[in-house]
């Protein structure tokens, strides 16, 4: 699946949920069923500090592609990082850097992109792009 196909699959999951609580339930379920992050990566250096939630993100570079892992101490931020990992993992640094993450708006999570939102979705995306950029420059 391409990056956009993965986004479309997530949009499809949310498509028929018009109640906010059902959307949140799906996000919570994603977090609770997620593999999370390997213990070796669950360290202070990998923390993206939100105001209230804590998110860990790590990345590996194999065969020209970036593989992410992520986890949070809250289920809502956890579900969000989980979707980002699902969409961006296995892509090339260029595809990650150029990605238009339209799924956020389509599933109604745009409010979470505000820099003041305490789950720091914007910070998660930024950190994931920084990894991609770092791998790209290492590679060149």
């Amino acid at each position: 699946m391409t990056l956009n196909e993965k986004q479309d699959a997530i949009i499809a999951e949310f498509e028929f949920l018009d109640d906010w609580l059902d959307k949140y339930q799906l996000i919570i379920d994603k977090s609770q069923s997620s593999k999370g992050i390997e213990d070796k990566y669950k360290v202070e250096e990998n923390v993206i500090e939100g105001c209230q939630s804590k998110v860990w993100v790590a990345a590996e570079f194999r065969d020209e592609k970036v593989y992410y892992q992520g986890e949070s101490n809250t289920d809502i931020a956890g579900g969000i990082v989980c979707m980002l990992v699902e969409i961006l993992s296995g892509e090339t640094p260029d595809d990650i850097l150029n990605a238009d993450l339209y799924f956020i708006e389509r599933i109604g999570l745009k409010e979470h992109l505000s820099p003041t939102r305490s789950n720091g979705m914007l910070a998660m995306i930024k950190q994931m792009r920084i990894y991609a950029l770092a791998f790209k420059s290492q590679n060149n």
Binding site: L21, Y24, T74, A77
Partner: protein, 406 residues
């Protein structure tokens, strides 16, 4: 029997729908909603009475000055200060504490002097003292509380000595709801010659305050916590102390005579009010004080106490419910956690149900450290809240619990 519905009409914001559900506003400890009369006062202030105060000779300026000074007298009467010279308008509680920490510190404190705060203070009653101690080489001491959130008065006694210059303490904890025995604390501190600053941010909307009866040397609060506007607050200080203290900020209003060689300062309270004061906000604050007086502070306290008891009883039936702050003397603040649901997750779900609560450390990280937690969910009540709203909160928590399978 107190009927909150009579007063809810004064607060149009409360009849809003949030995500299609009626708003349940339980974030009153962060800020209270404003009644129509307060909003009207701000509006008429700008539309009919706006002119810079004090030195103006024209009609509007005189009217605005009279209204501003009448507001000062209203505050004086509300907290029973001895004189309106003891009422300094500030931007809020935080600025009032910073003012005292600076001016009292510069005037009375030297190296090795001691300041006492408590473990349950809001950051704004910790950090200004830390900064002052750093500046003067003074030492900050801390009184702790037990697991019910009751302050250890014996520890306070043991910390006090002739080097103690000031004890800074909240009358009501914003996180635990504990009502501290400030009168007793002032008596003990005064035995050692220490002064007392009482942070009234969380007590002023709930408890009848009499600064002379509790013998506070300083008492501070914010207008927005008592149905008044944001951006204005009050410092009460005993006149004899304020007289001796050096000014906090320099500028217009606070001077008597300025030359390049020497400037002399204005009298109290203007010495501490550099720049154009919020003369519209002050009149709106006075209006808010009139409003709560009309309802009656005793009626407010009684209704909020009933809400707290009802909420504690109702919510304690929820499985894995933990309350933080079980002091026998407690104001309308309920801090809690359910199982291992993160407070941010709980708050987000309650939000989608139209329920406004606060989550996190509530600017009181030492309180969180005491219990070894990151944060709590906090529901805080006002006289306009109802038992039905607590039922909605109860059902909301159960709903969230189900969603998190916890």
């Amino acid at each position: 029997m107190f009927n909150p519905d009579i007063y809810r009409h004064d607060f149009p914001i409360l009849s809003q729908q949030i995500y299609g559900k009626p708003l349940v506003y339980f974030d009153n400890a962060a800020t209270t909603q404003k009644p129509l009369c307060v909003v009207e006062k701000i509006k008429s202030g700008y539309l009919e009475q706006n002119a810079n105060i004090h030195r103006g000779v024209h009609f509007l300026s005189e009217r605005a000055t009279e209204a501003h000074e009448a507001a000062r007298q209203k505050v004086q009467q509300f907290i029973n200060a001895n004189s309106s010279n003891e009422i300094v308008f500030t931007r809020g509680t935080t600025e009032a504490i910073n003012l005292v920490a600076f001016s009292f510190g510069e005037t009375f404190c030297k190296a090795d002097d001691e300041i006492i705060v408590t473990e349950m203070e809001h950051h704004s009653n910790i950090v200004p003292w830390q900064m002052m101690c750093e500046r003067k080489g003074a030492i900050l001491k801390v009184v702790h509380f037990d697991d019910n959130g009751v302050l250890n008065i014996e520890e306070l006694r043991s910390l006090l000595n002739e080097k103690t210059k000031l004890v800074a303490i909240a009358q009501v904890s914003n996180t635990l709801g504990t009502i501290n025995p400030v009168k007793e604390i002032a008596t003990i501190a005064h035995q050692y010659g220490a002064k007392v600053l009482i942070d009234g941010a969380q007590s002023i909307p709930h408890i009848k305050v009499d600064v002379q009866s509790i013998d506070a040397d300083f008492f501070v609060f914010s207008a927005h916590k008592i149905y008044g506007p944001t951006g204005i607050g009050v410092l009460y200080g005993k006149e004899t102390l304020l007289e001796k203290m050096q000014p906090y900020q320099g500028g217009g209003e606070m001077i008597q005579k300025v030359t390049f060689e020497k400037t002399t300062y204005n009298e109290l309270p203007f010495k501490f009010e550099a720049g154009t004061p919020d003369f519209i906000g002050s009149t709106a604050l006075a209006e808010a004080l009139n409003y709560v007086e009309k309802i009656g502070m005793a009626n407010i306290a009684e209704h909020e106490h009933q809400l707290l008891c009802y909420a504690q009883e109702k919510l304690s039936a929820i499985e894995k419910m933990r309350f933080f702050g079980n002091s026998p003397k407690k104001s309308g603040v309920l801090s809690f956690l359910v199982g291992n649901i993160h407070p941010y997750d709980m708050g987000s779900i309650l939000d989608k149900l139209g329920i406004a609560v606060r989550t996190g450390h509530h600017c009181a990280q030492p309180v969180m450290d005491h219990f070894g937690i990151e944060g709590t969910v906090r529901a805080s009540f006002s006289f306009y809240n109802t038992k039905e709203e607590i039922d909605i909160l109860y059902n909301g928590i159960l709903r969230a619990q189900k969603m998190f399978k916890n």
